[in-house]
Amino acid sequence: MTFAYVFKRLLGTIPLLLGISLILFAIVHFAPGGPLDVYADNPSVSKEALEQIAKAYGLDQPAYIQYFLWLKAVIVGNWGYSIRTGRPVLTEILLRLRPTFELGGLALLFSLVVAIPLGILSATRRGSKLDGALTLASFAGISTPVFWLALLLQLLFSVQLGWLPSAGYQSIGDGSLFDRLAHIVMPAAVLSLATIASWSRFIRSGMADVLNQDYIRTAYAKGHGLLGVIMRHALRNAMIPAITVIAVDFGTVISGAVITETVFAWPGIGRLFMESMDGRDYPMLMGLMMMGSVGIIAANLVADLAYAALDPRIRYG
């Protein structure tokens, strides 16, 4: 039953992705400038040479022809070549995937580990000073601009204290686990701040709602203590409404954190996107954004499946 449901949902993503690709293609092409503009003002590149390059990449064709050419190639698995580097789009992306997964994975793990206890703490002490402080802190966390926080952390831990490297994936010639951990700590912390802030809010409200339910009173009447009641009875129920937000955030973070990766010179998907944006690298941008879309759609599907796993009353068919 679940298998049939997943299959049906996957089938439904085909028209969805087609529509998304059309919109993305239009946006990318409507944006002012183009991939060859860097050469336009360069006196050593002749007009003929420029036309030749344009022809080689199909940039001389009308946009809708370019779209269909792109689509035709993608259907058979060819994502095209980066205009900036000349290497296949897929190769470039795969190369950057690992750092992004490492950074995103760590940030998400960190977020879960911090957000759940904070949400529970807030919910069990509703109206207390601690709850007020956490509420304030989470609003601050949601509102803090990522680049600003990143710069402050770099200033403190790299410039002032000199404890952590300010940027990069690893030191040249090093690459030991410790060295890489030292590099990943700051970007992961920055990346998790917003998710911690928003998830802890959702878990707090879910928890606050659940703690007023009759079955929680039943659990106390059985002789459970607060911890037992929360772990055995409340948490799973409280996670149900929060799961959508968490899953979609998973999709977003794993698809690359543009600002964080740029500020910390992290060689991931996010920075690749920034670089490709600067160069109007059409095939690269399309590849990256389509992958991001797939990530978000997959996260939504996972969220729906997680719902059913957490709540036996939900059945898909």
């Binding site: 009759d214 009173r217 009447a221 059985k222 055995r232 957490l310 036996p312």
Partner: protein
């Protein structure tokens, strides 16, 4: 002892099990202090079934949930009194001792079986966790016991149903699960908080019969909360009538029905449909509404709705007096009332 008790539902009055003295519970809300319980006293003997009746908001539920300190706090707080369970004051013991009593020696059957079971947990797990909280059994033994309990409360193919979720049971079956859960550690006292209110009438009768037979079989004492005097007549040994956070009348069940001595009790009895009444007799409702429990009341709480009320009723709260053996009433005019005279 007194010989007035005519009821046959087992005069197995043993030793005193529970004694509640001057219990006072208040709720500190944004609108002010709600005086939910204004010093109630009652006792339950081993094997006894005490019914506490009254309309919604009279403090019945708060009264019994206070026994296990299950009042949500804040806003609720037990501000005074004693709850002696086998001689130990439950208000003075620490959380750890209290937890061994909750679900162990005293268990609760809640009002609404639809919401009182955890929707995302298999019923078997919900029963076994109670067993394992109090008894040293392996998970397999606990599971076997849970299956036995489900069978005992009349759930067919109990072993198979352990792995079902609450939503796969009907309302009546869920209440049976709650009862199985309440019985799981052989409690000495079961608090049944309107266990049949949320159920269909036919199912209600089944649940009443079930609890009655289990009580007879196991000798467990029961405090049965209800607003339904019809149900109460079928299973209680003694009845306490509550109004506005006070116990206004307390008596053996037959005595109460035969010689009610508080105007409120009479009002409740008159609002019951009777089989022996002539056709087209209208049910008599009690005029007016129960008082708002915000703030202190002066005098007798029932005075504004009472046809017997005089000056003293509005000025001073009546003390409880004994009008017959084991029959107590808190009314200034109980003699008039029980004589059936109209003012």
């Amino acid at each position: 002892m007194e010989t007035t008790s005519l009821h046959t539902t087992g005069s197995k009055q043993g030793k005193r099990l529970l004694e509640v003295r001057n219990l006072e519970t208040k709720f500190y809300t944004a609108d002010g202090v709600v005086n939910a319980l204004n010093g109630i006293s009652y006792s339950v003997d081993e094997g006894e079934c005490l019914a506490i009746v009254g309309e919604s908001g009279s403090g019945k539920t708060v009264g019994v949930l206070s026994i296990l300190r299950l009042i949500q706090s804040p806003p609720g707080r037990i501000v005074g009194g004693e709850i002696l369970f086998k001689g130990t004051d439950l208000l003075k013991i620490d959380d750890k001792e209290l937890r061994t009593i909750r679900g162990g020696a005293i268990s609760v059957i809640f009002q609404d079986p639809m919401t009182s079971l955890n929707p995302v947990m298999r019923v078997g797990a919900q029963i076994t966790e109670n067993i394992r909280e109090h008894e040293n059994l392996t998970s397999r033994q606990a599971r076997q016991k849970a299956a036995d309990l489900l069978g005992m409360v009349g759930i067919p193919t109990p072993a198979k149903r352990l792995d079902d979720y609450p939503h796969q049971f009907s309302g009546g079956m869920r209440q049976r699960v709650m009862i199985a859960m309440a019985l799981s550690c052989s409690p000495q006292l079961i608090i049944a908080d309107e266990p049949t209110t949320a159920l269909d009438v036919t199912i209600q009768a089944q649940i009443v019969e079930l609890i009655k037979s289990l009580q007879a079989e196991l000798g467990t004492a029961v405090i049965w909360i209800s607003h339904d005097l019809g149900v109460v007549a079928r299973l209680a040994d003694n009845v306490a009538v509550m109004y506005a956070g006070h116990i206004v009348e307390k008596a053996p069940v037959d005595e109460l029905y035969a010689r009610p001595a508080h105007p409120y009790t009479i009002g409740l009895l008159n609002s019951l449909p009777r089989l022996d009444a002539r056709i087209k007799t209208k049910l008599k409702a009690i005029g007016g509404l129960p008082p708002n429990l915000l703030g202190m009341l002066q005098g007798c709480a029932f005075a504004p709705r009472c046809m017997f009320a005089t000056q003293i009723c509005r000025e001073q709260a009546p003390p409880a007096i004994e009008v017959a053996p084991r029959h107590q009433v808190a009314c200034w005019h109980s003699e008039l009332v029980s004589a059936g005279e109209r003012p």
